[in-house]
Amino acid sequence: MNRFKGKDISGCATTGIMDQTGKRFSGKDIINSIATMHERSNGLGGGFAAYGIYPEYANDWCFHLMYDDETCKEKTEEYLRDNFKMLKSEKIPIREEMQVEYKPLLWRYFMQSKREKIKLHYNFTEEDFIVKLVMDINSQVNGAFIVSSGKNMGVFKGVGYPEDIGRLFRLEEYSAYTWTAHGRFPTNTGGWWGGAHPFGILDWTVTHNGEISSYGINKEFLLNYGYICSFYTDTEVIVYLFDLLIRKHGLSYNIVAKILAAPFWEEIERESSEEKEILKTLRIIYAGALLNGPFSVIVANSETMMGLNDRIKLRPLVASIQGNKLYIASEEAAIWEICPHPDKTWRPKAGEPVIGRLMEKNG
Amino acid sequence: MGCRLCEIHCITQHSKTKNIIKTYKGEYPKPLPRINVEEKGYVNFALQCRHCEDAPCLETCITGAMYRDDKTGAVLCNENKCVGCWMCIMVCPFGAISRNMEGKKVASKCDLCGEEEIPVCVKHCPNEAIVFKEE
């Protein structure tokens, strides 16, 4: 699919839109936005994450799955039925008439967890239980891959240009209050359906443009806390780091930005003594979480969307705001395509996060 | 450390060829070293002229052979004028001057190696024991 084998390497593309009031809008916008950045991908991966798309099942777990064949589907469903009460199980609707070279079986399940199963694990919260289950299935069942595992959200991805993937999954029919999208130009691993971005676990999703040089140590660091990385791609560690630092360690997004894109020692020296102590301690304790190498990421969960650059800003990221809608993208053109006159546009500095938060909802 | 390389390089510097092998194998008589290593037990000290500000040898010299160089401030001996009376040797508080008995008898002492930037004893000491300082 990649006709351009020449030296023009422009890197991946990523966009995120969030309506902070929680008002939901169609996937049409995000497809148009990512299509603008067509040249940044090579057709070997594209994907979307959407939040708020299943309001009828808002409190139930929704797993999106990819299967190589029927056997792994049966095996996985057995596992799921054992651990969950199955409310609904269906094929993810796609445009059947679209020509796609190969596609796995795409399925989704709406489920409720079983209390007694969680209790079997000492000291686990419901989320810990889901995380462990997802890791077990992904690493042990060959040919099955859990694409997203959150509530009232889902990840749609595959091998192809992102706008094609968007049309395949009929995303213009869905309404969500946060959309993120990604187009891939992979170099380190080939194109496979599970390898496209966004990566997700629980309601976290991450789209990533870049390459993590510190992948080896981040992987080991996460191993210390019980997270097993099984996808041979560096983006996986970003998702797990967010889950660890925000959900389990209870840190704020600003602090997490200071861990993942830590300021330099020379900058820390110049801060006030209190701030200096905090930054120094963060770097000492979370040395293994520092992400080295170029990256711009858009991370989202049910309440937040955050964009972040690496500590020396080696990848592009632009943000705009119009009213209550926050836009983050790799290129300004992608934002103009859907929002021609934003109130404010800026380029976040290295290590400076862009955070959009869901306002308090009524009812 | 008692290796006496300073003495060897001093001799070479004041030889005709300034080449160490030719000096030692060919030249006879060898020039006198202007620096001497004093030993007692394991303590060694390399002794040469201190080029004192109030040099007694300057005052005592009967012929005026001892003079102070205007540019460097070093105390030098003009061998043409020296008559070998040895008054300078007797009066030097450090014992840094020696008698050159070969040929015309003259006093022999450190001359800061003339045109060299750094005296060769300083340059070649393997342990940097000799330090050249302007005061």
Binding site: E211, S213, S252, A262, E266, I278, I285, G288 | L5, I21
Partner: protein
């Protein structure tokens, strides 16, 4: 036949055209190899006594001397090499245990030379250390699992966590334990000054801390070995950290040894033993017979310094080093120093130095992996030691999982050592491994300090270049990052234990 001469190891080749009979070599050789014959004005050399330290070669003003390996050769025999034959002859002669110095010289595979590093291209820009900041700062000590922050009403953050005491290193290289006694006062002083100048630490070794070195205390790690030489309250309070020495790489399982010839009055005073007696440390600490005893000692030490400084443990790399390390973590140590097979020493029985222990590369990889799987890796810092020869060894050690490295042999070579392996005789011509005042003055502490600082600065620059090449700008992103290593010409098992892929694998 009763008397059988030991064949010479070295032959002194003197170029008669260059020798000027200045007798510098005669004066300088502590083994009395050279002598002067006034009748013929010639300098003669007795090659039988030469140990190959190359001091005369360096001091000769005309470069007339060359040291060559001996010509007296046995019939070629791969199994019964000259070294093996010589050792048997010596033991038949004396009935004693053969001693030697420095690290093992046997031909075991050097894993450093089978590991290759990565560089970033195209997809990931490499970083130029001359233009961008490249951070080598390392903290040694226990690190908690997570940080505790408190936020007040205005949203201002304050730090709730209290970190256990850390050592701050500006470069991830420390000077390893070389006791005052095994090396000279001047050598110790060079090392201490260099540590201060570089912002890193040196280690007292078993020999206690000389009173003149208390001024360097804040850059010194004080060691407590089984002989407890020099240990009193001031000693514990003077250092920046305490290290309990259980074993060392050169001689795992046996204690330290300082021959009586090297125990002068000063050494005796520092170590608190009579002068002239052999300073033998017992094999185990006689109050540590098991892991719970170690835990007791660690906490006893922590109490005595009121928990203000890190307390660590030094062990030799042996077969179950991973399990031992795990036990030590749970006993409360803040850092673990692991000394590999090639670690050096002042004196050790040759047969133990060459046959006991495992190489540090495998030890570090194994310990790091094991601790991570157990989820306790953050509770200690690991320091690797034992034959680190160059900056690439340092990078590879850190990538395999060490937080920092100890260097000792490299530091001595920087100060003049040529590894003649005769440290135990106390006749070191370079003034390093001796207490003889005629010899120790040859090491000028200013020069020693300068050379050590030069060495570490040079290595730091090389490390920064290599890090930049990998697209990393902080050393913490390399620690344990085995993705950047590939093994070349290694067996599958080696690759598995090291935890790295083979060259060519993505």
């Amino acid at each position: 036949m009763a008397k059988r001469p030991i064949p010479t190891e070295f032959i002194i080749d003197r170029d008669e055209n260059k020798c000027i009979s200045c007798q510098a070599c005669v004066r300088m050789c502590s083994n009395e190899v050279h002598s002067y014959d006034p009748e013929t004005n010639e300098v003669l050399s007795d090659s039988l006594k030469c140990i190959g330290c190359h001091f005369c070669e360096s001091i000769c003003p005309t470069h007339a001397i060359t040291i060559k390996r001996s010509q007296s050769e046995f019939k070629m025999n791969a199994n019964w090499s000259a070294g093996v034959i010589t050792n048997i002859v010596k033991q038949a002669e004396t009935g004693g245990v053969l001693l030697t110095g420095m690290g093992s010289d046997k031909k075991y595979p050097i894993y450093w030379d089978h590991i290759l590093l990565n560089a970033s291209q195209v997809t990931n820009p490499s970083i130029d250390p001359l233009r961008e900041p490249m951070e080598l700062r390392t903290y040694i000590g226990q690190k908690p699992d997570r940080i505790q922050l408190k936020s007040n009403k205005q949203g201002k953050l304050s730090l709730e966590s209290r970190l256990s005491p850390q050592l701050q290193l500006e470069v991830p290289i420390l000077f390893s334990a070389m006791s005052y006694g095994s090396i000279s006062f001047n050598a110790s002083k060079s090392i201490a000054n260099a540590a201060v100048q570089l912002g890193t630490y040196c280690n007292t070794g078993e020999g206690g801390l000389h009173k003149d070195f208390y001024q360097y205390g804040s850059n010194t790690i004080v060691q407590i070995a089984s002989g407890r030489f020099g240990v009193n309250r001031e000693y514990l309070e003077a250092g920046a950290a305490i290290e309990i020495k259980i074993g060392q790489g050169a001689k795992p399982g046996i204690g330290g040894h300082l021959p009586g010839e090297k125990v002068t009055a000063e050494i005796g005073r520092t170590r608190m033993i009579p002068s002239g007696t052999d300073a033998l440390s017992p094999a185990p600490h006689h109050d540590i017979y098991s892991i719970e005893d170690l835990k007791q000692l660690i906490f006893a030490l922590k109490e005595s310094i009121r928990y203000k400084k890190p307390v660590g443990v030094k062990i030799a790399a042996v077969h179950n080093v991973a399990a031992i390390a795990s036990g030590i973590v749970k006993a409360g140590a803040d850092f673990i120093s692991i000394d590999g097979l090639r670690g050096g020493t002042g004196a050790a029985p040759t047969v133990i130095r060459d046959n006991v222990g495992i190489p540090i590369e495998l030890a570090i990889a194994s310990v790091d992996q094991h601790l991570r799987v157990e989820g306790i890796r953050n509770q200690v810092s690991l320091i690797a030691a034992g034959g680190i020869r160059c900056s690439s060894d340092v990078i590879k050690a850190i990538a395999l999982g060490a937080d920092a490295v100890y260097i000792a042999t490299s530091a001595l070579v920087a100060m003049g050592c040529n590894l003649c392996q005769r440290c135990f005789t106390g006749k070191c011509n370079w003034g390093i491994a001796t207490q003889n005042p005629y010899l120790t003055k040859r090491l000028n502490p200013e020069i020693g300090q300068r050379r050590l600082v030069n060495l570490i600065n040079a290595w730091s620059m090389e490390i920064k270049e290599m890090l930049g090449g990998m697209g990393i700008n902080a050393i913490e992103s390399l620690r344990g990052n085995r993705e950047h290593l590939r093994g070349i010409a290694l067996s599958d098992t080696d690759l598995k234990i090291l935890g790295i892929k083979a060259v060519g694998e993505m």
